[in-house]
Symmetry: C2
Subunit: 595 residues, 2 copies
């Protein structure tokens, strides 16, 4: 398919295409894993945008971007290789196609990027339309809100399309219906009215889950004049699955030059019954719609439930990653002690700081890549006050198919520099429990980082203590391999065998502070510091800094990821690409031994 | 003065105290530098809060916190030592007083922290009031907006007091007056009405400056039902300088348990004519109200004006730091190319990414401490797309009197790990110009960091080139001193003289990439890596990583700041406290030479 094909197509042809695209989506996401519900929900919206606007001359910016599969199909990309190494990525990427106007993967950026693009266009005297497609959940993110409120005027020829999944609006129906009366066409009113009625009924179960944030947002959306105050002409709500209506509305918008906020109501999972019934299950799925093997996540969820029974002050905080980080059971058992604040990482961390100040023990559960959003809040609100907040950092290291926007390779570098923060990297789920219990006793901020996927038990029974001591898993008089993190430790044990050398393998379960006693003991030997993270500023640097701060000359080799963005593939392939496998390590041990 | 003194005081006594406090504020800020206008504006508000609530049992959380001087006076602290080493800090600090419920220094955190504190209180079955005092500019920050929109209900016994400086409301007067009609007491209405009329008239000149953001915000504020939708009972606007009215309103609020949003209109600089007339000049001042010697800032401003003449694509972006970063002249000369987005660092960076994508060359001018707010946007929106955005990072290193919330010690660690980003640290203003011109040619993201205060010309004329080579400022066959950043280079040159050794002094003007050729050349010698920044993850680590990534054994000593939060003092005293002066370095060179 080529994008030009879609320009000016008639409704009938587009409706036909919508069917084919839906079949393709279900098939390919089943094969490759990915985000199904969101993409099923934007089939008509994406088709209509492509039928009306002139991409890539006009610019289409996705928010979060997991809903870009339809756009990718339409612009000539295959989903057969979706999220596979060398294949089509799961998020918009200007390197992949000129139709992808801006990168996305994190939330809330599209309006800010769109305004920037418009500013550039206008200063350079160019002429094109900029369209930002944003979901209702993303609109609550701080970056998006800053952009919406940034000024009372917005650039011309700028269109924000709100993809409103309409899943939690039930409580507020009357207000929404009232706002619809502003629509002039009676027929359209009835149509949307009936559509909305169906949608909210069907998705009532999921609606309750996200009620807190979304219910409020809907009320807010229905104040149409709200967006007018922000400098937009507000249009909507329109039925985001009615191609005829979408084509009519978008064609009108195309002729206008004033900034427009188009409110489209869609149904997440539309057209695939299992996804319509349980869109959250199909939000992001593994191959064959498996839930994914997140052993650390599962272990953490279980652990938090146990500790919460014993410790009434323990509460959990997350930012729209409740299931992903393993909090499903916790949220059911302790609904009053589980705070899912939506896609608001900054608020999550500062709110946790407030809870810690008030005597609770907040556990902030978040993916490494999204923790970046709250770096200042970690430093300024939590660590400066030395508050007992525990950060459980999931998806640290290579994340696999989500690719370069989602890699968990930065957290050690940015966390290591923050005073008062202790950083742990347990080697397996048993040690996660050990380290977590230790963190509860610290009385200050702690970060515990671990990867996604299957995590085997690696043995070793030496408990961590107040000395933050590392654990020698395999002794030997050869090279000392300091391995940090679950995957690095597992590979180091394999590499010992593969290398055929008598190296010593140490489980470096604290990144900060390091085990200075052990570092002093081995300072006369050849040392390799090994981890799955950027070499720059990471664990190996901590080791180098220790020796260099006391000017201790040492034969040290640091092995970590080269400083580049690592695209989608399996996590194992990503480790291969960055030469961080057990085989790579074994070769390096052999070479270093021989030096 | 003790806080208990203020509980239940009568209006007359408070009015008397307000006068004394204003005199003290003007006197002490003249002596010590600090934030005058904001504090003059909250005298009555702070007195009234202390007269009505039971602090420290009740919790008062400041936003940004530069308006806490009155609170500090009332709670028994002196301003004689304001912002001096060992004296009273310029921001709230729980370590300084139990009356300071939460740290502040960055913007937009108070509502999130307040909700967290309320959550803790309610889960623990405790009973106190939580009050967040936030200015209108802070309310536009992403963290604040996330907290406001986080849910449609807010905790009980939670009061947000909006300190609305009322400076740019003129355009929207009629809407405001209309909203006042909702107030029931006719007398109060007339009073506020007349007060508002006076205020807006008096401050019309400054109003224009901040119009863009604030004008919009006012319109928004006047939709009283807006905050009601966010779960607050909205009360206001009230005259924030009328003690009688404030006592009456706050006493009522104290008796309520529902969450309240109190909108108080105040006048920045109130009661000190020069500050009322030009509040921005007195926002943050040096001693004797001097503007401060910010040589790098001044040089940057001049440079940008020159380059903007030559290059039509160059635009400047800042986040409410326009004067501080040196953009005053630029904003006057190129009003269409200067984007001050208010206290929205995230939006600033992602918007800049959009502008770069659209063909402009955005220069983001920001203090090091506030850049932390946009870490994810730097990584995900700018660097992942390798966009030509130049970050000019002011106040890098020790910042002096602003103290621990404002130190610029983290930026190297968090920036160094981000792929595609080049980091420069020019030794003086001449080199700033050289490095900036080089950055313009790079075609990708660059960060240029430099400290505040006086920056002497350090000589040296070797221009930077595509090899990113460092500059040997003083040759010698002793220890190799790799100095990074203006202050470190100046101290290294002094230390050579003080040490009486023949050390070699290198100006390491790139942090990333390092000059690998030079590093290889000196690898057999004793090396000191020296900078004013946290040792963890900083410049010295970059040097150590280079050698350790190729397993090159080396006699390397890293000297940088110990990993702790460094409190207010002069920047020189802070360097002394962290043992980073020229004398400290000289001693270390001597000792290392003798080893």
């Amino acid at each position: 398919m080529l994008a030009d094909e879609w320009k000016g197509r008639e409704v009938g042809a587009l409706e036909e295409a919508a069917k084919e695209i839906r079949d393709e989506l279900v098939l390919r996401v089943k094969e490759n894993g990915g985000h199904l519900s969101a993409n099923l929900g934007v089939v008509e919206l994406t088709l209509a945008l492509h039928a009306v606007f002139d991409f890539p001359q006009d610019k289409l910016i996705f928010d979060v971007g997991h809903q870009s599969y339809v756009h990718k199909l339409i612009t000539g990309r295959t989903l057969e290789t979706l999220r596979r190494k060398g294949g089509t990525g799961g998020f918009p990427d200007p390197e992949e196609s000129e139709y992808d106007a801006f990168v996305a993967g994190h939330s809330g950026t599209s309006i800010a990027a769109g305004i920037g693009l418009c500013n550039a266009r206008d200063l350079r005297g160019e002429n094109y339309k900029v369209i930002a497609l944003i979901g209702d959940a993303s609109l609550g993110n701080g970056t998006a809100l800053e952009a919406v409120f940034s000024s009372e005027t917005k650039p011309k020829n700028f269109v924000v399309v709100l993809n409103d999944n309409g899943m939690s609006i039930s409580k507020n129906q009357s207000a929404l219906y009232r706002s619809l009366s502003k629509m002039t066409a009676k027929k359209r009113y009835r149509k949307v009215n009936s559509f909305l009625g169906r949608t909210f009924k069907e998705t009532g179960a999921f609606g309750r889950k996200l009620r807190k944030f979304k219910y409020f947002l809907k009320g807010w959306l229905n104040k149409n004049d709200f967006f007018e105050r922000c400098g937009f002409k507000y249009i909507g709500p329109v039925d985001g699955h009615d191609l005829r209506e979408l084509l009519a509305v978008l064609s009108n918008i195309r002729k206008m030059d004033e900034p427009v906020f188009l409110h489209a109501v869609t149904c997440k999972g539309k057209g695939y019954a299992p996804a319509e019934e349980d869109p959250s299950r199909f939000h992001g799925t593994g191959k064959n719609f498996a839930a994914g093997e997140n052993s650390f996540s599962t272990a953490l969820g279980r652990l938090l439930c146990e500790r919460a029974e014993q410790n009434k002050n323990l509460v959990a905080v997350t930012a729209a990653m409740k299931d992903g980080v393993g909090l499903s059971e916790f949220s059911q058992k302790f609904p009053d002690r589980c705070f899912d604040v939506g896609i608001c990482e900054e608020y999550a961390v500062t709110m946790a700081a407030g809870m810690a100040k008030g005597g609770l023990l907040p556990v902030v559960c978040v993916y490494s890549t999204f923790l970046q959003r709250a770096f200042d809040q970690i430093a300024h609100d939590v660590c400066l006050q030395n508050l007992p907040v525990i950060f459980c950092i999931d998806r640290a290291g290579f994340v696999g198919a989500d690719g370069k926007t989602h890699q968990g390779l930065l957290d050690e570098a940015f966390l290591r520099a923050v005073p008062n923060l202790r950083i742990f990297a347990p080697k397996d789920c048993a040690e996660l429990s050990d380290v977590f219990d230790f963190a509860l006793t610290v009385g200050g901020p702690c970060a515990i980082r671990y990867p996604n996927g299957y995590a085997p038990n690696l043995g070793g029974t030496q408990k961590i203590s107040e000395y933050y001591q590392w654990e020698t898993l395999s002794d030997g008089d050869g090279v000392v391999v300091l391995a940090c993190g679950a995957r690095a430790v597992a590979r180091a044990l394999d590499a010992k065998r593969l290398s055929g050398t008598n190296c010593m393998v140490v489980n470096c379960r604290t990144v900060k502070p390091p085990d200075e006693r052990l570092l002093r003991e081995v300072s006369h030997r050849k040392i390799i510091a090994f981890e799955e993270g950027y070499l720059a500023g990471g664990f190996g640097s901590a080791v180098a800094e220790f020796y260099a701060s006391c000017a201790q000359p040492v034969r040290l080799k640091i092995i970590g990821a080269e400083n580049k963005f690592v695209p989608h593939a399996t996590a194992t392939q990503q480790a291969e690409e960055c030469r961080l496998t057990a085989q790579d390590l074994a070769r390096k041990i052999q070479a270093f031994s021989a030096q």
